[in-house]
Symmetry: C2
Subunit: 330 residues, 2 copies
């Protein structure tokens, strides 16, 4: 940890009200943090960086940046069926005129409050960090507990598995269009409330931790949807050496897509990024049980032995997609 | 892990020749990496970010950037007495004209070779990562094993402890001046070899892992010298609620300081950053034993009950320093 920024870390990231885990031995303030992992468990690690102007528009609020950076990482833990434990934060802040002492202080206050609020919800504790000068960027690494031998990998999908998702698709992608002022003609009929909801979905994604902990008992494979359903499902198919059929009429379309025609809505739901729902596969029997527990989960297709990904309309016709995969907005 | 950069990670960071640890369950390529920690141990975590133009000059080679980013993190493990185990990497690469496909490929090849070479020396394995577009920046988080109850904290220094360091001070700071073309009149009498050695000390710091593993048995406190002796020793004094006396004539001055007058050399050795030697405190008895094991370690002073930091010349006169603490070169 760089000593020169010690005070910055001390004042904003040593929140006395944050989670205090009993498996933490030494927190922020030394060369390393020390934890005492529970015996007989595995640990899951994930690291993600969000850069201003690439992963979020430059005018995004400090609250939203903090929330999204942690939520995106928590979502990776959820996708493995892991229980959140600790995280580290590396924060790079600009040194230009806009970022004077007052602005920086205000920004850090909003950022840290939002971060600790979400961390508290998931009982995950900030144990260390680094703050540097440069282009605005947030890197978070999370670590969580996994039951030995019970993890949700991408590679376990089996032929005839049901493919399902934990919630609606496409809202965040509409939110991004709205924030960037793109395709405004398309969204003219959306109410202001609906627009706000879409922007909220973009900035405050929900990490499906509880769902992942349940799914690790029953699902064969899973991942979280960050780059768009088609692109992400492709990883499961490749890792599992299988194919899939998706039933387009079954896609759970976010209400923000109601202003689009059917085909536009399908494409948005399949290629829009930042949904952070889980996509998983499991046996039909396990699916029926799961659907009772989580009625809002939606089956959208089946794993096939044939190794391509086919998109089917209600009449069984194959649908050819126009949109390209999502590759950040920059 | 962002899916869109999957291929980049696959091709450069899945080196089949890298370390293969038996405590790794699942490496790069899923939402999280999974490890199975040894029982009855603690884990130490540290995260550090190096930004181009702040922590290293823009013209630094890919090899040096990779080496230094990992070494600086390993040094934090060394400073706790930890044994390296796994690390994650978040790499942000520019998208401007200079960084065309050919340049990027060459850069990544050099970066990854240097990274894996150092990782191999310390038996630490890359288990996950993220690659994004933006200003050149490298964030590494390391994780290592600690014997339960045996860690080298900053807070354990005791009155009458010997203060010692694991090696010479000041070379990296001279190297930085040379790279930046600063104070060239001062360094005119240095041979080209000596200049190259100083630049090498800046770019390829040595993490004192072996030394830290030994010191955790005998030292009361320790940290690694990244910001400069005075600034870093200050953290030990503050955390331990003690003071110190340093004997300036005992400072182990790097040979690159030979071109400076005595006072300039002292100040460089005390305020120059990037040494990455360990500074530690221990009883006189433990020191005598330690010095037999590591004859090149050097005692430089004593911990005092009086809470200030006094710099003493050979005749016992107090020396007043001119230079300010190190706060990166940017």
């Amino acid at each position: 940890m760089a000593g020169s920024e010690f005070q910055l870390i001390q004042s904003y990231f040593s929140d006395p009200e944050q989670v205090e885990r009993s498996d933490l031995i030494l927190g922020i303030g030394d060369d390393c943090a020390i934890v005492s992992p529970k015996e007989q468990t595995h640990l899951a690690f994930s690291i993600d960086t969000l850069n201003s102007g690439v992963h979020f528009p430059h005018n995004t609020s400090a609250q939203a940046i903090a929330y999204k950076a942690l939520a995106a990482n928590l979502s990776d833990l959820a996708a493995m069926g892991a229980e959140p434990a600790w995280f580290t934060l590396s924060l790079t802040l600009p040194g230009d005129d806009k970022w004077d002492d007052e602005f920086r202080e205000q920004w850090l206050k909003q950022f840290s409050q939002s971060l600790f609020s979400l961390a508290g919800e998931h009982n995950i504790q900030l144990i260390g960090g680094d703050t540097t000068r440069g282009s605005l960027s947030v890197t978070i690494q999370v670590c969580g507990y996994l039951e030995q031998g019970k993890s949700l990998k991408r590679s376990g999908a089996q032929v005839d598995d049901i493919i399902a998702v934990t919630g609606e698709l496409g809202a965040a992608s509409v939110g991004l269009d709205i924030v960037l002022g793109k395709k405004s003609a398309q969204y003219k009929s959306l109410s202001d409330d609906a627009k706000q909801q879409a922007v909220h979905a973009l900035n405050y994604p929900q990490a499906r931790i509880k769902e992942g902990l349940y799914l690790k008992e029953v699902a064969h494979s899973a991942l979280d949807l960050s780059d768009g359903l088609l692109s992400d499902l492709g990883h499961i198919l490749k890792a599992s050496d299988v194919g899939a059929e998706l039933q387009l009429e079954q896609l759970p379309l976010a209400s923000a897509l109601s202003c689009l025609d059917k085909q536009q809505a399908w494409e948005k739901a399949m290629t829009g990024g930042d949904d952070y729902e889980l996509c998983f596969t499991l046996s039909e029997k396990a699916w029926l049980k799961t659907k009772q527990q989580f009625p809002h989960f939606v089956a959208i297709g089946k794993i096939t032995a044939e190794k391509d990904l086919r998109l089917l309309e209600a009449d069984g016709q194959e649908y050819k997609i126009n949109a390209k995969g999502y590759d950040h907005f920059g």
